[in-house]
Amino acid sequence: MTDLAHAPSDPHPADDPVPVPITTRKDWSSDQEVRWCPGCGDYSILAAVQMLMPDLGVRRESTVFLSGIGCAARFPYYMNTYGMHSIHGRAPAIATGLATTRPDLDVWVVTGDGDSLSIGGNHLIHALRRNVNITILLFNNQIYGLTKGQYSPTSEVAKVTKSTPFGSLEQPFNPLSLALGAEAGFVARTHDMDRKHMMETFRRAHAHKGASFVEIYQNCNVFNDGAFEKITGKEHRSDMLIPLVHGEPIRFGAEGQHGVVLHNDGSVEVVEVAAVGESALLVHDEHRDNPGLAFQLSRLSRGPYEPTPIGIFRDVDRPEYGEEMARQIDEATARRGQGDLNALLRSGSSWTVE
């Protein structure tokens, strides 16, 4: 009898003698024509992922990209891996079933701000809470792209769009605060203008066991052009992006002249290093068990017009859902032996008619 705890098609056990082949970006690109609008930020994210994959030491056939619906969600069609373009908002649910039954796979979820924070908000928070072994890339363009420009749950208040000609009335979600509140173990932010930073962030997200959440500021040049320009534009970056580096004091600016301090009441603030002294700066710690400080950092900036931290906010280990499920199966099997159908059918009282 085969081992029922594992899918029949796990052809690469841990001791697989076949080495992972050397690949290039081309091997990870499908033959499908990429159909995003010219100039869309999605292109550079796709390039970053395709260029990173050969570096990760993983197999194409053991890699799966899942998505919901939206412009961002077309992503799986362009990866030469296994993939599924599913329905609006539900990719984390589908990924939960796949990742828990197939621990041998690398499961990536690509989603938009509407897909993951509006219709799919429930699945997102629960996948993070359960710590399913998936890597979630949230392409945040603060707009509904595919449906041609309605405001989204990350659009700023008073945003004028096709569906809000007099301005939107809603307080937006802060995706990182939400993820941290949902108990995510790995939370990071990057942006579509910096390939190197994206690749590094994705590499770390992939390496993390359990649910990893990466928000990517992504420019929709058709319906929300320049949404992040004030912070990601080349000339603004050094003053407006705050790189978080584990173990280092948090500082930014061309000369490192700005920094972040932690106040006694638990709040964080941007300061001039000259005014407070270097030793007063907050030293970033990704592995802090308490998410409170990461939460404060996620709210340091009120929007992409103020100095905004990027990088890894939190990276802590928690028991992974699929592994725990498998553990219970192993324990039950060790305790009772492999399932016996005849015993199952007689688990109540049986009697015999001669």
Binding site: L4, E61, M84, R90, A93, L341
Partner: protein, 645 residues
């Protein structure tokens, strides 16, 4: 009344219907369940009908809080839990009031007389005490001080006065066990095992149970005891199962036979939750159960597991069915195996959560946007849930399609003895995963086309991630025939739409022909589906016993129908379709076969009564329904209870 203290030999009965009724907190389901088990082990044929309120604990003593368990035991083959009880055990005035109307005149009523005090009478809405005002003169009433005797024997065991009366359900069980000559060792052993961790409770329950039994034996209240001899069931090994247990076991067996890991993604809902509970106990079979955040996630995760090469299953009921529609559509588009189990309950909306109905057939058939056909399989009795589940899995895996399995609240909670099947006789289920590229592209390269179909079944290859060279992307956008690439052109869409429909329609040739139970010369065919089976079979039997001819057919496959169904229908003068809905199968039959199907329906949250079925059939045969109905049951259960259209 007899004066002798010598035990009299028990009086033989061929069958009896007993209804245990009390407050939700009185433990009536437990008492009924134990009585059922000892009757099953004794060898009776039986059928049960648990009937409980939607509230876990409605205010004590009120009509809304009455919980009942009906069991029909017999020395011959029976198919229903009985139209009306011969014996009612009423633990309080509310239980009496809620059930007395379903008793035929002359029936036996055993009441816990201690509960008939002013306060309880008022709560039950009685203006005067029915035990004293003559209103029960048509029945044989036994007044038994169940609470006081139970309290007394429990206190002797050391139970706190406050808890002492809680064992009274075991007193009632003991009394009925004596009255119907049930062996008691089984129940005593069960009490000892079940309450091993709570010695006081165990002792109190044992004492109450024995006290009930001895009460029957020693008081001279009852004229004699009764016995229902074992039924002559076909030789074999039997267990007593509920439909939900049989469904859960069917899943484990089908998963094992197909060598697929079983994944259940689900969200708790009555009356489907017990499948989750049962499966979660059996992890040693590699079963993964996932209690999702909602129904959409439950089915989504099941579909994700199916994409990964597992047997993906979701279970639900009522409103949960609605939530799954979009994901079912995706599964139809992805052409992946997936099993959706709908334990139907009364609707719309929250409806009657604990009551049965079979009103989801048209939803299963059409409840999705676009042309989105899928196979539908329905179980007909509690134990048949096993076979129906295995069949649904077979179709899902072979045809790479979501399948809806319809059960309902009556099947889910009802029980019957089930002759254990020979597992080797079950159908083969071969996942037949894709292993190699299946196509050569224009440049002569071997490639994998996920939508290149098997010419015979029209099923597409199932290629879970993991194999090099078979990488592919699928999705809900329309796909090009063969390559599976995104395709928008109209001609391709029409082709794919027709292919998906033809794949499902073709299953008609892979299922057995209509199973018709006919006596030569019958002009009326009664055809049903799902849990009406028992009532239809009983009705047909009664009609035949009157010397009439009538044919019966019951459909397990509702989409597609068996290939010969049109022919079968057209060979009868009249086709009667009883359903616990407003006429859903009858509509499908009319649409598909232009047959003048006569719909006979009822939606009261309970199964049809055999007597109602009998008169509906007789009316079709010779139009004399009313007379026979009245005669058949002596109850008010005439044809007006159902509606003929």
């Amino acid at each position: 009344m007899s004066n002798t203290t010598q035990p009299k030999p028990p009086h033989l009965l061929d069958r009896v219907v007993i209804r245990f009724a009390g407050d939700s907190g009185d433990g009536m389901q437990l008492a009924g369940d134990r009585f059922t088990t000892s009757s099953a082990l004794f060898g009776n044929d039986l059928a049960t009908f648990p009937d409980f309120p939607a509230e876990i604990r409605a205010p004590a003593g009120t009509l809304a809080g009455v919980s009942a368990f009906q069991v029909h035991i017999s020395d011959h083959d029976i198919s229903t839990a009985g139209d009306s009880p011969n014996v009612l055990v009423a633990m309080n005035p509310a239980a009496l009031r809620a059930n007395i109307d379903s008793l035929p005149k002359g029936a036996t009523v055993i009441v816990n007389v201690d509960a008939f005090e002013e306060r309880n009478l008022v709560k039950a809405g009685y203006e005067s005490d029915p035990l004293g005002d003559g209103s029960l003169s048509a029945y044989t009433v036994y007044e038994v001080p169940m609470t006081s005797i139970t309290t007394e024997v429990s206190k002797e065991a050391g139970v706190k006065p406050r808890d002492a009366e809680r064992s009274k359900n075991f007193f009632a069980l003991g009394l009925i066990s004596w009255l119907y000559t049930r062996p008691i060792e089984g129940t005593m052993g069960w009490i000892e095992e079940k309450y091993a961790g709570k010695p006081l409770v165990m002792e109190a329950n044992l004492r109450a149970f024995k006290a009930g039994f001895h009460f029957g034996e020693t008081t001279e209240l009852f004229e004699s005891s009764y016995e229902v001899k074992p039924a002559t069931l076909a030789p074999g090994e039997y267990v007593n199962v509920t439909g939900n247990t049989a469904t859960a076991w069917g899943l484990i067996v089908a998963a094992t036979r197909s060598d697929l890991p079983l994944f259940l993604g689900t969200y708790p809902i009555t009356p489907a939750s017990d499948i989750l509970h049962e499966l979660s106990k059996h992890k040693q079979f590699g079963v993964r159960t996932f209690q999702a955040e909602d129904e959409i996630s439950g089915i989504g995760a099941a579909l994700g597991a199916a994409f990964g090469g597992a047997l993906g299953v979701t279970t639900t009921s009522g409103p949960g069915v609605d939530l799954k529609s979009e994901m079912i559509g995706l599964a139809i588009s992805l052409e992946l195996p997936l099993l959706i189990i709908d334990i139907q309950r009364g609707g719309p909306s929250t409806g009657l959560p604990t009551k049965t109905e079979q009103a989801d057939l048209l939803h299963a058939m059409y409840g999705r946007h676009g042309e989105a056909p899928l196979p539908i399989v329905a179980a007909k009795t509690p134990s048949h849930c096993f076979e129906a589940t295995v069949e649904a899995v077979r179709l899902a895996v072979k045809y790479r399609t979501p399948v809806i399995l319809l059960s309902d609240g009556y099947l889910a909670n009802g029980t019957e003895p089930w002759k254990l099947p020979d597992l080797d006789q079950l159908p083969d289920i071969d996942p037949g995963f894709a292993t190699d590229p299946n196509h050569v592209d224009d440049d002569g390269n071997a490639v994998f086309w996920p939508y290149l179909r098997d010419p015979e079944t029209l099923a597409r290859p199932w290629a879970p991630p993991g194999l090099a060279g078979l990488e592919h992307r699928i999705g809900g956008l329309e796909k090009a025939d063969g390559s599976g690439n995104v395709a928008y052109d109209g001609a391709n869409h029409e082709k794919m739409t027709r292919l998906r429909a033809a794949k499902i329609a073709g299953i008609a040739h892979d299922i057995p022909p209509t199973d018709v139970d006919d006596e030569d010369g019958a002009e009326v065919l009664v055809i049903g589906w799902g849990s009406t089976y028992g009532a239809i079979a009983a009705g047909v039997q009664r009609v035949r016993a009157r010397g009439h001819k009538v044919a019966q057919a019951h459909l397990m496959h509702l989409n597609p129908f068996p290939a010969d169904l049109g022919e079968v229908l057209s060979s009868y003068k009249k086709v009667l379709v009883p359903e616990v809905n407003l006429g859903q199968l009858s509509r499908l039959l009319r649409a598909e076969y232009l047959v003048d199907a006569i719909s006979f329906t009822q939606v009261q949250g309970v199964p049809f009564r055999a007597a109602a079925m009998e008169s509906a059939i007789l009316q079709q045969i010779d139009g004399t329904a009313e007379r026979f109905a009245a005669e058949a049951t002596g109850s008010t259960d005439t044809i007006e209870k159902g509606s003929l259209r």
